[in-house]
């Protein structure tokens, strides 16, 4: 009975929480802070640009091989800061600012950088009373440190690339004693306020004294019914960056907003604070589930990045001197030779920690990606199957349900790789367990899926039901691994199971223990085809402030305030590690997370959280995933169909068509929605959905190769057009179409009742082939494409070769040994190139044993050649080349296959209307060296 009553309470809490939010469909904004309601943001934002109170004390300059240190002083309060400058390998500069002598250490974010970034020597070019000029080595790059006021400028030749504190918004709230104790301890330092305050403000605040400070929320802050005790007082930091010549900035996910970041004047800044936002709204800067504090700045000349390594609540203000101008106004400026250069100003504000900024100087987009990857790592290389289609629902009710859905896919001949179980699968929301009535034989179920060469994902959330009959809870309690509240007791909050504890994932010992829980003998009922989904890891606390953890909760000696945004990363990190360990380090993990931070790309996939079955939510999935791709997270997707509400059939079909061309392809639905497996909408719609899922599977070799590339280089898989066409200004704001790799251009239909879309085909030199009809179109044009419900406008770039597996089967694993078809799309110069990557699809052997095939495919001078990109690799495949399609070809008289010193003729067909040459069954092994000669 006790169990039942707890159960009830849990249920009740869910209902309460749901009511607590809104019953209509929209976010309840009142549950989340605006900048004005966040004391430090309000305080910091009240500072206006002007004379900075900070001065560089040049006499304190110390230069070692790898770093330069220099003290800064705030002339208002005489507090000294320590500036550290590093020149990093790969054209990056790191700027760190901390208190010279803080009362106690300030938090510096660990575990995000894959290693201490390697440095390069800095040298002083000149120095006088006003400042120091340092050489950044290559390309005539210099770093200028100005002393009064303190300011940094990064120059290349005569051009200023980027300036720090140019607007004087550096503000560093130093640690101090609370006034009550301070009065006795240190009478001299009574006059404290925001360090960056300007003189006149300073005076005013002093007079107002204590009462005003309390109002400012320096030592305590209340939001709704929650009081944040702030035992450390004000600790916020801020710094401004100016980007001359820049009009386009991107990144800082996660926001449900356009790809190009907007100016924030007159509204709230973009907020980065991982939150479980119920029924989020679109097109605004509110915080969502994840935070990656990386911004890219782009113009036709250069792409740069700013990485603000801070895990506390962060707000980013963006302003621009051209923002208000119309296109005509800008033209007028141009014609009249206006002296005003476009400029974007950015200001970062964080609640605690230190200033630790990485400036990635590009200059090419690809270079910025590799620079960021060198700091935080690349996208994990996912198991091939995880690039297939995922079928999810809250919830598949029981084993029988799982079985019948699995059979449904076979009956309707639709491929899929993963079926997912949401929270109801566990026994009373006790993760790592199974509901004994609904899932009495999990291994039998998993074996059934394994027999079909399919897989499963079960959800494992980081909130642990407080229940003395629950092994996981008892072990965490006995090991003292829970997060503590401000009074040092175990922190408890409400989540799905009711009263829950939150393991302290910031502790390495905790993470190691958590990882060990995924061992087959620990996670009972698990098998090697069971993978994991980490949800609610912001962390979500139903009865906490802003539905998350209290900021004064404690992770060892650090406050939750300091680490908040990285909590979710740690959960996924520990889970992925667990999956690796259970296989003895052999198998690649697959873990999906909702919360994320810089570096999360190393551990798996993310999705855009609890979206809705609305056309606008379909549209926003594109910029949301593009923004994530720009800052390292390639494995991104949105719930196909929309999580909340029931999609119309048209919306569902369009969502499948869009999702099939996005990296993480999973359908998901809320408990309250009607069933929506792909075959429930009549045979015509089933056929449409089957067709697009098949298109996805046929392209898996290409997706897989792109993920390999992302893993090796940091290049995003799904990209905005400007990444590949950085000089084409027409591409800079496009976010209703995108590139997959460099070679596929997708313009999904995201309008209800659409009869046509206009796609921009980039590149004046390019031609693009419609992948369905092979019709050729010239680049640098807006192409109107009439559409029906079956249309998915996708184009292959002329000059590319894409390998496909056109024999689509039940799951990606079933297609393992199938032959390839090469789609060779010729450029106007009759040239094309591409790659082919093959490995076992699931293990680390590609890395540890070099067991893979990596081939370069080149079409030039009427010959298509496969050559080895990794001669010391060893992997055998039974896949072969069954067909080669050459788009934009002319008819040869003869085709010969040259292999092993022999020449054999190859049959071919030529379609004159579309100029498509089809080579019939050349038959060579996919790993072999060969050449096909057209004569």
């Amino acid at each position: 009975m006790a169990v039942i009553s707890i159960e009830r309470m849990g249920l009740l809490s869910v209902v309460c929480v749901s009511l607590f939010f809104s019953s209509t469909f929209a976010v309840d904004r009142g549950n989340f802070k605006t900048c004005d309601q966040s004391a430090f943001c309000k305080r910091q934002r009240a500072l206006k640009p002007g004379q900075s109170p900070y001065r560089a004390l040049l006499e304190t300059l110390e230069l070692s091989d790898s770093r330069l240190t220099l003290q800064l002083i705030n002339d208002n309060n005489k507090v000294h800061l320590l500036l550290e400058l590093y020149r990093l390998q790969g054209n990056m500069t790191r700027v760190k600012i901390n208190e010279l002598k803080p009362l106690k250490p300030r938090f510096e974010v660990p575990d995000v950088l894959i290693a201490e970034p390697p440095t390069e020597p800095l040298s002083v070019l000149s120095k006088d009373d006003n400042g120091v000029v340092l050489s950044l080595g290559a390309e005539n790059q210099r770093l200028i440190v100005s002393a009064r006021p303190f300011r940094l400028d990064i120059m290349e030749g005569p051009e200023v690339l980027l300036s720090l504190n140019s607007r004087g918004l550096l503000a560093f709230e130093h640690l101090r004693l609370h006034k009550d104790t301070q009065a006795q301890a240190d009478g001299a330092e009574v006059k404290e306020s925001v360090d960056g305050d300007q003189q006149q403000d300073e005076g005013k605040k002093d007079e107002d004294g204590e009462s005003e400070k309390e109002e400012d929320g320096l030592w305590e802050e209340t939001f709704k019914s929650h009081t944040d005790t702030k035992p450390n007082g004000p600790t916020s930091i801020s710094l401004d960056f100016s980007l001359p010549g820049v009009e386009h900035v991107y990144g800082i996910p996660e926001h449900a907003d356009d790809l190009k970041l907007k100016t924030t004047d007159g509204g709230d800044p973009y907020r980065l604070y991982n939150l479980d936002v119920f029924q989020y709204e679109l097109y605004n800067p509110m915080a969502l589930y994840g935070s990656i504090p990386v911004m890219l700045a782009h113009n036709t000349q250069r792409t740069m990045g700013i990485f603000w390594l801070n895990a506390a609540e962060t707000w980013v203000d963006i302003s621009s001197n051209t923002a208000g101008k119309t296109v005509f106004g800008k033209m007028l400026d141009f014609v009249q030779g206006s002296s005003e250069k476009p400029q974007t100003d950015v200001r970062w504000i964080s609640e605690s920690g230190i200033i630790d900024v990485f400036i990635m100087l590009g200059p090419k987009p690809s270079k910025v990606f590799s620079q960021y990857a060198s700091l935080t790592g690349t996208q994990s290389f996912p198991p091939l199957a995880s690039l297939g289609y995922h079928q999810c629902r809250w919830n598949y009710n029981d084993q029988e349900d799982v079985k019948s859905v699995d059979q449904g896919f076979d009956q309707h001949d639709i491929p899929y790789d993963f079926i997912w179980l949401d929270i109801e699968h566990a026994d009373g929301k006790r993760y790592f367990t199974w509901d004994p009535h609904k899932f009495p034989q999990p291994k039998e179920m998993l074996q059934g899926l394994m027999d079909k060469r399919r897989k499963m994902v079960s959800i494992v959330d980081p909130h642990i039901r407080v229940d003395s009959g629950y092994k996981i809870h008892n072990e965490i309690t006995s090991k003292d691994f829970y997060v503590k509240n401000k009074d040092g007791k175990n922190y408890e909050g409400w989540c799905w199971p009711g009263n829950s504890g939150y393991p302290d994932f910031t502790k390495p010992e905790m993470r190691a223990w958590w990882a060990s829980m995924f061992a087959y003998d620990q996670y009972e009922g698990s098998m090697e085809n069971l993978f994991t989904w980490n949800d609610m890891n912001e962390p979500s606390v139903f009865n906490g402030p802003e539905v998350t953890m209290h900021k004064d909760a404690l992770h060892g000696k650090w406050e939750h305030r300091d680490i908040h945004n990285i909590y979710g990363l740690y959960v996924q990190m520990a889970t992925a590690e667990g999956q690796i360990q259970r296989s003895g380090g052999v198998e690649r993990p697959f873990v999906l997370t909702r919360a994320f931070f810089a570096g999360s790309q190393r551990y798996g996939a993310v999705w855009t959280g609890d979206n809705a079955a609305e056309w606008d939510h379909l549209k926003i999935s594109i910029p949301m995933c593009l923004s994530l791709g720009l800052v390292g997270v390639s494995f991104c997707g949105a719930d196909v169909g929309g999580f909340f509400k029931n999609p119309s059939t048209e919306l569902l079909v369009r969502w499948y068509q869009t999702g099939a061309y996005q990296p993480f392809f999973r359908a998901h639905a809320h408990l309250d929605t009607t069933r929506r497996e792909p075959w429930l909408f009549g045979p015509e719609n089933t056929a449409l959905i089957r067709e697009v899922i098949r298109q996805r599977y046929a392209l898996l070799p290409y997706w897989y190769q792109l993920f390999y590339q992302a893993h090796k280089t940091g290049m995003p898989v799904m990209r905005p057009l400007w990444v590949d066409y950085p000089k084409d200004t027409a591409t800079f704001t496009i976010d209703d179409e995108f590139l997959i790799g460099s070679d596929l251009l997708v313009h999904p239909v995201t309008e209800e009742g659409s009869r046509g879309v206009t796609a921009y085909l980039p590149g004046a030199e390019e031609v693009w082939y419609d992948v369905h009809t092979f019709q050729k179109h010239n680049g640098a044009q807006n192409l109107y494409i009439p559409v029906t419900l079956s249309s998915i406008p996708v184009f292959q770039r002329g000059g590319s070769i894409i390998p496909r597996k056109d024999r689509v089967r039940r799951s990606s694993t079933c297609m393992e040994n199938d032959p390839y078809t090469l789609y060779v799309a010729l450029s106007p110069k009759k040239f094309a190139e591409g790659e082919l990557y093959i490995d076992d699809g699931h293990s680390f052997n590609y890395d540890t044993k070099k067991e893979f095939i990596h081939r370069s495919l080149t079409f030039a001078n009427n010959a298509l050649t496969s050559s080895n990109l990794c001669p010391d690799c060893n992997f055998l495949t039974s896949s072969w080349i069954e067909k080669v399609l050459i788009l934009g070809a002319s008819k040869p008289s003869k085709v010969l296959l040259k292999m092993d010193g022999k020449e054999t003729p190859v049959d071919f067909e030529f379609d004159t209307s579309m100029s498509v040459l089809t080579l019939r069954k050349p038959g060579m092994n996919a790993g072999a060296d060969w050449t096909l000669l057209l004569q």
């Binding site: 009607t674 039940r810 079933c814 069954k921």
Partner: protein, 539 residues
Amino acid sequence: MTCLHLLLTLVFAVSLGTPVEIQRPRGVPLTKKQFYEESKPFTCLDGSRTIPFDRVNDDYCDCKDGSDEPGTAACPNGSFHCTNAGYRPMFIPSSRINDGICDCCDTTDEYNSGAKCENTCKELGRKEREVLQKMAEITKEGFLLKQQLIEEAKKGQQEKQSKVTDMQENKKQLDEKVEALRTVKETAEQPEKEAKERHLKAWEEQKAAIRLEKDKAKMAETFLELDDNADGFVSVSELQSHAELDPDADGTLTEIEAQGLMGGAEQVDTSTFESVWPKIKDKYHSEVSREEADISCLEPAPVETPPDEVKEPVVDNDSEPYPEDDISEEEDEDDEDEDDYHEDDDKVSAQPTIKTPEKTHEDEEAMPPYDADTQALIDAAQKARDDFEEAEKALREMDDQIRNIEKELSFDFGPDAEFTYLYSQCYELTTSEYIYRLCPFNRVSQKPKYGGSETNLGTWGSWSGPENNKYLLMKYEQGTGCWQGPNRSTTVKLTCGKETVVTSTSEPSRCEYLMEFTTPAVCQEPANIDPSPHDHVEL
């Protein structure tokens, strides 16, 4: 790679342990063997093109319809035939050839994948035969039961039909009876009314006479009381001793005022006092006793005013936040409730009208009993009324009965009325959490096992099976609303069984329930079953 594929394969039928060779390309059913002749070029079955025969099953798709690759996975739309000797032959999509998963029980689909498949056809065949046999038995018995049901239903239906006919006949008579009795009643009520009125009038007159007598006596009495000096005259000063008679209510009866009351005279004698008496009688306080003075007060005592509005019965349902209740359902409830409230209204408002006469009677002299003639008329009328009401009630009841039977007859109980027996029955299934209750043609509900209120999972909507047999599914709709969701609904899937039971329930989609229900009523006439249809080798 491709050389691994055999162009032609030998199909071994192993059931008899003696291989029987049938030469035809892999994956081709016997029925299509004729199209695949080794000696001739092959024409795609859709006629789209002709290819050399060595391109059949060469692991490259030449025909758009996939017909050149019946035995390989090369064509996306091809299909593969497995003989499955011992079980039943089937087609699988070509994509399942050599995909590492055993689809055909004779293992022929996995000839080059390394998958370790075992020939399970015999076993499957045996199991299938068992199942079929069992099914056949059930169907057979079920069908017999169904025949009984049909017969009973027909009988029942006929009975009901004739009952309705009879009742309608009876009803006609009743109608007439009611009309006759109405006339009798009305005829009896007329003299009753007149006699009653006469009686009342006589009583009223009598009462008026008595009242007048009393007034006169009182006046005389008062005169004597006022005439303090017993001189036969009431003087101004004698009148003044009764301050309560003060017309301007200032507490004193002045001389002028008293004179005014006396019509300007200084004194009045008994006869002139008659004109003074009406002016003072209402205010006059007897010097003797109050009770006596009150006797004249014939005004009915103030009736307890019935409250203007009967207090609305509690309609808290509206204001109570039951998020799970859907509006439409609340409306339904309201309707029902309103009916109840009307009844309540009647009860409440009836009370004062009963009370009022009772109270007045106390203060009034009782009306004398009716005389014997009048009473006789009243009794006669009452009897006529009772008779009429009784007849009317009987008519109403009969109407209800007819309506009920007609309603029952109006249900679609299947082509042969075989579902009739389910009417007004309920069937329960207890799961780990709930007790589910199916009352066919009425409603489906769910009740927590360990206490809690019942939830309506839908009321009878319609048959909603596929076009060829709509009687395979029942749809119950408009149950209790779900929070932020639809109204609950239930689909009941009917399968043939000897017994009538709910075998399972599930909730495949939130608030959309599925119930499996067996009944003999859907058992089909068993065909002549061959217990081993595919036991022999396909030749």
